[in-house]
Point group: C2
Chain length 195, copies 2
């Protein structure tokens, strides 16, 4: 198994991805997506309002509809969630706000203080062309660790250690992270759906 | 100082409140508002999407605009926030999702585990008539306690002990809570703005 797309990405999938724009203000998500796919993606950096919801699919779906309304071209939305076992899945899709407030160490510190380091990282991709919505979801189980370790990645990568690994996402490097990470799995799932 | 509105609520303020509908799906907020005001309020229970933001004013403002678009009549929005000192103000306006996930005891337990029980309860009211937006904000400092205590109130009332009190909002009773609580202060601030 390779970390990037199989070189034989079905041409139907490739055509649909080529027509779509990844709509995100997060350039780290774009870089990771292009690395995983192995080719460049169109990119639109528009500020989309996000609805408040703890339901990842609902947040992504609404965002895709709004992006389509504004751009009138096929769009891809990347929504990420971090579910803490100690908080029954909170903050989930609201993780970006918890990162803004306390950083990755603050999130890991909360899990540690509550004596349950279990966490799931989830990435949900939605491709919407104004007619059909195609989803690709990737999930990686793991635990939050302190101190933060590694120089790669972004977001909570320095404190997230995938199950069965002794390295954090940030220490695993691009290839390692893409292979077992939530975003790599989500892109491969999306391509499989498009094939 | 009384917990309810001064009986001499300026007639201009009363007229504007009478024309407006409190838009909320939370009947506890409605009951508390009517108790504080001392008169009935129109009420609309529509499901408004809320934008994701850790900025209380931004959430309330967008919700007021959307409520006006749908109802085409003056609207009042009540947005509540709980800022944990241990989490640099998180979850803020996202407190409803943390309540859904772990309940009031889970929030207080998080603060306790992080060894900082300090918290601020904030209520922001927005009256919007399609032209002017009038704000009323109330803030109450306090701390989160365990075990939860008291049978009154709702939300995080059983675990929130206002500064200088030995009772939680839920133990203080309606009059006590309205007098020093974030929502009572917000309504009185709104009326003062409207006078």
């Amino acid at each position: 198994m390779t970390a990037t797309m199989p070189s034989a990405t079905p041409s139907s999938a490739r055509r649909r991805l080529d027509r779509a724009a990844l709509v995100t203000g997060n350039l780290d998500k774009l870089a990771e997506a292009e690395r995983i796919c192995g080719f460049s993606l169109r990119h639109e950096e528009i500020d989309l309002p996000e609805i408040q919801s703890s339901d990842l699919a609902e947040v992504a779906r609404e965002k895709a509809l709004e992006a389509w309304r504004r751009l009138q071209q096929p769009v891809i939305i990347d929504e990420t969630s971090l579910e803490l076992a100690a908080l029954n899945g909170f903050p989930g899709p609201l993780v970006k706000f918890m990162l803004d407030a306390v950083g990755p160490e603050g999130i890991a510190g909360t899990a540690a203080a509550l004596a349950d380091s279990g966490a799931s990282a989830v990435c949900l991709l939605v491709l919407y062309d104004g007619r059909d919505m195609v989803f690709g979801q990737g999930r990686t189980e793991g635990r939050l660790v302190l101190p933060a370790r590694g120089a790669g990645g972004f977001g909570f990568d320095t404190v997230f250690e995938p199950e069965g690994e002794i390295l954090t996402f940030a220490e695993l490097g691009d290839t390692g992270k893409d292979e077992i990470g939530h975003r790599g799995r989500a892109w491969r799932a999306l391509v499989a759906e498009l094939a």
